[in-house]
Amino acid sequence: MVERTPILNIVTHLILLAGLVMLLLPLWIVFVASTHDFRTVNTVPMPLWPGRHLIENYLFTWQQSDFGPKMLNSLVMAMGVTIGKIVIAALSAYSIVYFRYRLRMVFFWLIFITLMLPLEVRIVPTYAVAANALRPYQEILNLLGLSLVLPEWSLLNSYAGLILPLIATATGTFLYRQFFLTVPEELAEAAKMDGSGPLRFFWDILLPLSKTNMAALATIMFVYSWNQYLWPLLVVTDPSYGTAVMQLQRIVPGPLFGEPPRWHIAMAGTLIVMLPPLLVVIFMQRWFVRGLISQDK
C-alpha cells in the first residue's frame, strides 16, 4: 500500500512465522519422531532434530502393517471415487444444463439436497443398505406386488462398497453446472448449426473446455476419499480390503498393559498414510484451492 510501516512489517513477518510454526511443527514432529529409536523417541522432551533410524523404522512399519496392499487398496478406492465422480458428475450436469425437460428441476433439487448430509451423519442407514445394494429395489418390487426376485448384491468387503456410496453426493455436479452455465451460448448454437448432435457437442467441445474443472474436482475428490475413515471401517472386515487410513487404528500404541509405546513406529505409519494426499495438495494446490472455493457447499 501507500505508506511505509517498517515496524509493522517486522511484526507482520513475526506473526506469519509464528503461524508457520504452529501449522507445520506438528508435521515436523511426526517426521522427527519417525527417525529415532525407541529410547530416544520416549525421552522427554524429544529432540527436534532427525535421528539416524529413518530407513529401518519405515521398513519395519511398512512390513508390520502390511502397507503394500493397504496403500494399493487406498489407491484403488481414491482413484475409483475420483474417476467415478468426474464422469458421473459431468454427465448429470450436462443433462441438467443442456436439456430442457420437466423433471429437470426435480432432479436438480434431488441432487442438491445430498449436499446437506455428509456420509458420517447418515452412517447407520447407509450401512444397512450396503449389506445388499439391491434391497431398495427389491422392496419397491414387493410393494408393487411383483414377485420378481432380484439377486443379492452385498457391498461389504468389496471395492464397490468402498467407492459407490462416496460418489453419491452433489459436489462435482455443481462444480460442472456452474462452469457449463458460463460457457457462451454461441458454442452450442454453432455446433447445432454445423449438424452436431448432443453427444458430439459434449465430447468434442464441452469436455475439452472443462479440463481445469476436472483437475480441480479430481484433486479434492482424491484427498477426500483417501482420507475416509469411518466408512471403510464399517464396510471392510476382511483385512485384504483394508485401507491405509484404517491401519492407523492398529498402530496406536495401545493402552494395553505391558505394550511398549513404540511411537517411532506409529509416527512412521502416520507419515506414510498422510503422504499421498499431502503430495497432491502440494503439487496441485492451485487446482485444489480453486475446486474448494468454487464448490457451492
Partner: protein, 295 residues
C-alpha cells in the same frame, strides 16, 4: 435456476445421462435416509418378527437419556471451541498474508498443508505430541507431576481433541478468508489509506466488516465439519473417554449402533443429528442467497 437458451431436446438421452447419478443418490442417500426415519419410529421385538410401530418412544428414550445430553453438550463444546480457534487463527493469518509483503506467497503455499492430513492421522500425531509420558507436552509433567493426562482427565482430553481439530481446520479457514479479502476492491483500502487510516485501522474498520459474509459461511461449515471430522480424531485419541468426556454425537451413534447393536436407538440419534445439520445448512442457504457482492 437459469438454464441455457440453446438446448437439445432428446429426452431419452437427457434421462440416460442423469440416470447413473440418480440411481446412486437414491440407493445410498434417499433410501437409507428414509429407512432411518422409519426405524426411528419402530422397534425390533426381542425374539425376532416384524418391526413394531412405537411412535415417539425411541426419541423419548434418547431424550430421557442423560448420556445422550452429555454427548450433545460435549459435541457443542467441541464444535464451538474448535470453530472459534480455527477461525480466529485463519482470519489473523489471512489478514497479514493479504498485506502482500515479501514472501507472502511462500506462506500462503505452506499454510495449506495441514488440510491434506486425514482426521485419524491428525489424531495420532496429536496423541503423540500431547502424550503424558512422551512427546512434548509431557515436559509439563516433569515440573508438575500429574498435571497433564488426557487418559485420566476429561478436561485434558477435550483440550486435546479441540486443539487437534482446530489445527486441521485452520488451513481451510485461511483459504476462504484470503479469498474473501481478495474480493474486496483495493480502491477501498487505498481510499482508507488516503484518509489516514493505518494498516491495523483498515483491517478493523474496512476488511473485517466486509468479511462478514465469509465469517458466517465459515461458522456453519466449521460446525458441520466438526461433527463429521470428529470421529477420526476421537476414535484414535480418546475413544470417547475418559468417562465419556469426549463422547461426541457421531462417535456415540457409532458405538450404540455398531458396538451395542441397538439400531433403533442409533437411528433415532441419527435423525436428530440429520435434522440439526439440515437446519444449519438451511440457515446458510437462506443467508447465501442474500450474500452481498461488492464487484
Amino acid at each position: 435456476m437459469s438454464g441455457k437458451r440453446v438446448t437439445f431436446n432428446q429426452l431419452w438421452l437427457a434421462i440416460l445421462l442423469i440416470l447413473p447419478q440418480m440411481l446412486l443418490v437414491f440407493t445410498f442417500f434417499y433410501w437409507p435416509a428414509g429407512e432411518a426415519l422409519f426405524w426411528a419410529f419402530t422397534l425390533e421385538p426381542p425374539f425376532g418378527g416384524n418391526l413394531q410401530w412405537v411412535g415417539m418412544q425411541n426419541f423419548l428414550t434418547v431424550f430421557e437419556d442423560p448420556l445422550y445430553w452429555n454427548s450433545v453438550q460435549r459435541s457443542l463444546l467441541f464444535g464451538l471451541s474448535s470453530t472459534a480457534l480455527a477461525m480466529l487463527f485463519g482470519a489473523v493469518l489471512a489478514l497479514f498474508v493479504d498485506r502482500q509483503l515479501t514472501g507472502y506467497k511462500a506462506f500462503r503455499f505452506l499454510y495449506f498443508w495441514p488440510y491434506a492430513v486425514a482426521a485419524p492421522a491428525v489424531g495420532l500425531a496429536f496423541r503423540f505430541i500431547f502424550a503424558p509420558e512422551a512427546g512434548f507436552i509431557s515436559a509439563i509433567n516433569q515440573w508438575f507431576p500429574g498435571l497433564w493426562n488426557p487418559a485420566l482427565d476429561g478436561a485434558d482430553a477435550m483440550v486435546l481433541i479441540v486443539v487437534a481439530n482446530a489445527w486441521s481446520m485452520i488451513a481451510y479457514n485461511f483459504i476462504f478468508f484470503l479469498a474473501g479479502l481478495q474480493s474486496i476492491p483495493r480502491s477501498l483500502l487505498e481510499a482508507g489509506a488516503m484518509d489516514g487510516a493505518g494498516v491495523l485501522r483498515r483491517m478493523r474498520d474496512i476488511q473485517l466488516p466486509l468479511m462478514a459474509p465469509t465469517v458466517f459461511f465459515l461458522v456453519v461449515i466449521n460446525i458441520t465439519d466438526s461433527f463429521v471430522n470428529s470421529f477420526g480424531i476421537v476414535d484414535i485419541t480418546t475413544g470417547g473417554g475418559p468417562s465419556r468426556a469426549t463422547d461426541l454425537m457421531v462417535f456415540k451413534i457409532y458405538s450404540d449402533g455398531f458396538k451395542g447393536k441397538d439400531y433403533s436407538l442409533a437411528a433415532a440419534q441419527s435423525i436428530v443429528l440429520m435434522l440439526l445439520v439440515v437446519a444449519l445448512t438451511f440457515i446458510q442457504f437462506r443467508y447465501v442467497e442474500r450474500r452481498i457482492h461488492y464487484t
